[in-house]
Subunit: 567 residues, 2 copies
């Protein structure tokens, strides 16, 4: 069948294998400068630096490559520059802050690329809000020129938005009037639910391509202040100092280097130090194994600072983060991820304990928040997640979250009698890491989400924190889905994997997106749940992506030819 019947566009040719690893010395599009407690992150996109041939990144428009650098910078600010308390996000161009996602790129990209791109963009913006909320690194959007579309959506992720007041600079969401799509990377949600722009004004704003500037933008709550160009530098610097002064971030802390991530990749395997994935294209499966620590936790946080990026929790999290992004972007047909762990549960719990006992240490806090964000990335990944809990595994504390994030889990009752009859049977352990510090996007722990509306079930599970639970016990407590024995294991697991591969990939995506976020809603779940779903639909419709649709016709001088039926 034609995979991109109407939602596709001109054949963009083969897409590149994307590498998410970068570092400031390699940046093409951003400059990161730190000056005491204030960092400045300057967007200065290289027009010819697109990730894929076929478009120019004019007017500080961006593609995935630009966003990969931004993500890297936001991460490094938290780990390498702990003294930074405020981050000024601004543009290196005259008169334009950022024109948003590149339209030619969007028009030419196949549907999955668009969707993946938007998801990563959203995650990075949520990361900016997480840095502000959890890390005392407050982002300030210094819009020294017009911020359109995704450019304004980026500003919306910042705590404070300043717009130069020069009669021509404006903020705008021109996606609907110009392109026939939504401001779908958080724009609609943040305008109403974060900035509380009145809904009728928000409606007007999102249909007015030229946007709103000056005092009106302030009155409508679209920006926090409009500043004359003459006072711009001075007032931006002053605001940054004020935001920095509010932070409780330690003043004299020394950062740790996020050293290059060692990774080998073939067509059948991706291997890091603590994480490996084997890619089985016939079955449509990635078999992922996360290894526990290969040594005990340091005696104190001093040892963690010393180990830096080598400290197990941080190293494993970085590897898992990179693997998720790699598989999501580069391996679209591996629809099921099978999650295993391997190692010593006590050592996992020991590493957890060290971090949780020292959450007032900036590095411990950063590592936990990073693990939290990485697990959230797993939650919004459109792949079926199956956890296999076997002898030799270490699903305890932070690593138990992998099983709790899975759509289903299987835990072997007993051992594999033929291959390893003398093994210890698998056990899982709830630890303090499962009871609060690693919430999902809905604001609940994965345990709370699992036992939504079942407070007794939740209490019974939480009461067993610290115990090594065997398959029967874990099954009784509702912590695993199925607990087959050796005789049934292979068959049950095989059927689960094969069945998953036989279903409609689209329907699975929708199913999982609904089931994974039961309970309360937050900005995050609204963005990934509701807004994204509408955008996916709109992206796929001919009115946007068809040959006569608005995305494809933009810039041709021809108006889009819309099917006028309202659906």
């Amino acid at each position: 069948m034609t995979s991109e019947a109407s939602g596709g566009a001109a054949d963009p040719g083969p897409l590149p294998q994307v590498d998410f690893r970068t570092e400031p010395a390699q940046y093409q599009h951003w400059r990161l400068a730190c000056d005491g407690p204030v960092a400045t992150l300057t967007m200065d996109v290289a027009e010819q630096g697109g990730l894929v041939p076929g478009y120019e990144l004019k007017m500080n428009s961006y593609d995935l490559g630009v966003d990969i650098e931004l993500y890297d910078a936001v991460q490094r600010l938290r780990f390498e520059h702990p003294g930074v308390r405020a981050v000024v996000l601004t543009s290196g161009k005259d008169k334009i802050f950022c024109a948003g996602a590149n339209i030619r790129m969007l028009a030419g990209a196949p549907h999955p690329w668009k969707v993946n791109f938007c998801k990563f963009t959203n995650e990075t913006r949520n990361g900016i809000e997480d840095a502000t909320a959890c890390s005392g690194q407050t982002y300030l959007a210094a819009l020294n020129g017009t911020a359109s579309g995704g450019g304004y959506e980026l500003a919306l992720a910042c705590e404070h938005i300043m717009l130069v007041d020069d009669r021509s600079s404006a903020v705008s969401l021109p996606e609907l009037p110009l392109l026939g799509v939504l401001p779908g990377t958080g724009g609609l949600t943040r305008v109403t639910d974060k900035r509380h722009v009145r809904r009728d004004l928000a409606d007007y704003f999102a249909t007015k391509a030229e946007g709103v500037g000056g005092k009106k933008a302030v009155a409508w709550r679209l920006v926090d202040e409009a500043v004359p160009r003459g006072q711009w530098a001075e007032i931006v610097a002053q605001r940054a100092q004020e935001l920095a002064a509010r932070s409780t971030r330690p003043a004299a802390a020394e950062g740790i280097g996020l050293t290059p991530l060692a990774k080998t990749r073939t067509s059948t395997e991706i291997r890091y130090r603590h994480v490996t994935a084997t890619l089985d294209r016939d079955r449509g499966v990635a078999d992922i194994t996360v290894s526990g620590p290969d040594r005990g936790a340091p005696a104190s946080m001093a040892g963690v600072h010393e180990q830096g990026a080598g400290f197990w929790t941080l190293a494993m999290t970085r590897e898992l983060d990179d693997l998720i992004l790699d598989l999501r972007t580069n391996e679209l047909e591996l629809g099921t991820w099978v999650l295993r762990t391997s190692g010593d549960a006590d050592q996992v719990l020991g590493h957890d304990r060290l971090l949780l006992d020292h959450r007032d240490d900036w590095l411990a806090s950063e590592i936990l928040h990073y693990l939290k964000r990485t697990l959230k990335r797993l939650d919004v990944t459109s792949r079926s997640l199956l956890a296999l809990i076997e002898p030799g595994s270490c699903f305890a504390g932070s690593l138990l979250e992998l099983a709790l994030a899975a759509d289903r889990s299987f835990m072997l009752a007993g051992v594999f009698e033929e291959t390893d009859p003398d093994a210890e049977p698998a056990a899982i352990s709830i630890g303090p890491a499962n009871l609060g510090p690693l919430p999902m996007g809905n604001g609940l722990t994965r345990l709370q989400t699992r036992f939504l509306g079942d407070p007794d079930g939740l209490a019974a599970a939480e009461k067993r924190a610290g115990d090594a639970l065997d398959a029967a016990g874990a099954g009784r407590l509702g912590l695993v889905t199925f607990a087959p024995d050796d005789i049934d294991w292979d068959e049950e697991v095989r059927i689960a994997v094969e069945e998953r591969a036989s279903f409609s990939p689209d329907a699975l995506t929708g199913l999982e997106a609904n089931y994974r976020f039961a309970g309360p809603e937050t900005l995050e779940t609204k963005i990934f749940g509701r807004l994204t779903a509408w955008q996916n639909w709109i992206f796929y419709r001919p009115n946007a992506s068809g040959p006569d649709g608005a995305l494809r016709r933009y810039g041709t001088g021809q108006r889009a030819d819309f099917d006028r039926k309202r659906v």
Copy 2:
């Protein structure tokens, strides 16, 4: 352009103009029987009674026509049978409760038809929950055979679900494994958020086409009890009596007849007694005018009971309800609805006051809840809503909700100097109807949603309740979007309407669906916001609706040929 490129299906031929008016004597698919406090609503679908040719409604499967009768029955139970305190929903077939939405119908229907059908189905199910929650008419699903897909989703809308325990009857959500679509009419949301089925069990359940029955269905919370066939009738009757006993519904109340709705319809006009719409296909606009009461409210509720369906608030609501359904289903290309009112604001407020002062009267309560549901129907309508507030209008209290539901409102400052210089300038009034009794699906009033995150703005507006506010005052308080004078009026309104017609209809739908439901989320907003959006996307993708997709291939003996890329 091809309007249904990939998401469409075999050309189903011209779709019928759908009439939503019916009454029990005309039912083909349901039987309604009342026995004191317990009513029984029996689904016994006529196989040959499909609304559109080309499919047979086997195994109690349903199409829009079946659902129109259900909606009518649910409404009549509340108005015509006030003594009913429990409603048993069951099937007239052996061994099958309901097989869900008819698959041939879905496979053959164009995309907008599928979407509209699902929306109406959802609204009716929410109405069942509303009857249980607000009206003391508690619904009991008596599944005397298998309930699949939409059949189980219907049961999920009931307060109590009983399943016959006979080793063959089950509840199931086979949409994903069999059809490649979602249980998209509330199924996924209610399973997790209402019944609190554990997410991994819910995942398993929704991938197992044959479903789950007996004790396991109870243990997993999918149903409330499994009852052996031998005791079935007795225990169902007993449960119905128990549910009835919990109700505070008046025992001896006499119902009022929902008399046939007088309506004339041409290709350019739909006219009822209090509501008219002119259909302007060139501009893509329906101009809707709601007239206020033509006489004062009765002195007491006795007068309302006497007027029955003739009482203005009820009559107007029924007309508006029918008009919304008619335009939504039959006039897909009228993308903008312009809302006007005409009449005496004091009389609107007088009618509101009478109802609100007597909310303990069952009829007053029913009328208010019906108005609430009808306004919610407007909120989830995928049309742009513009309110025009002109001299002679009566946007006060309950009718002010129309302006507050609109995406934008325009209020004339002053009068039309050329045509009616001596008119009273338009005024709007907040009344008690705006302060609580007519909440949106998000649980907030439309005023609260409007002033989300702006408690001062909300308080300032609410403080002016009872005052007639002119355009300047209403504008200052943020109750209207724009308040142009006579000189600018025509131009501003014309531009707003023309602009709306020039935009992508899909993007407008997505924009409005996001903006209209800011703030807290409920089952309702999750169903209409998140679940529906995913289902729309999935419906539109070739994996479901393409020639080789699962919906089209179902029953052919050929497996669907899926594009395996996960998006």
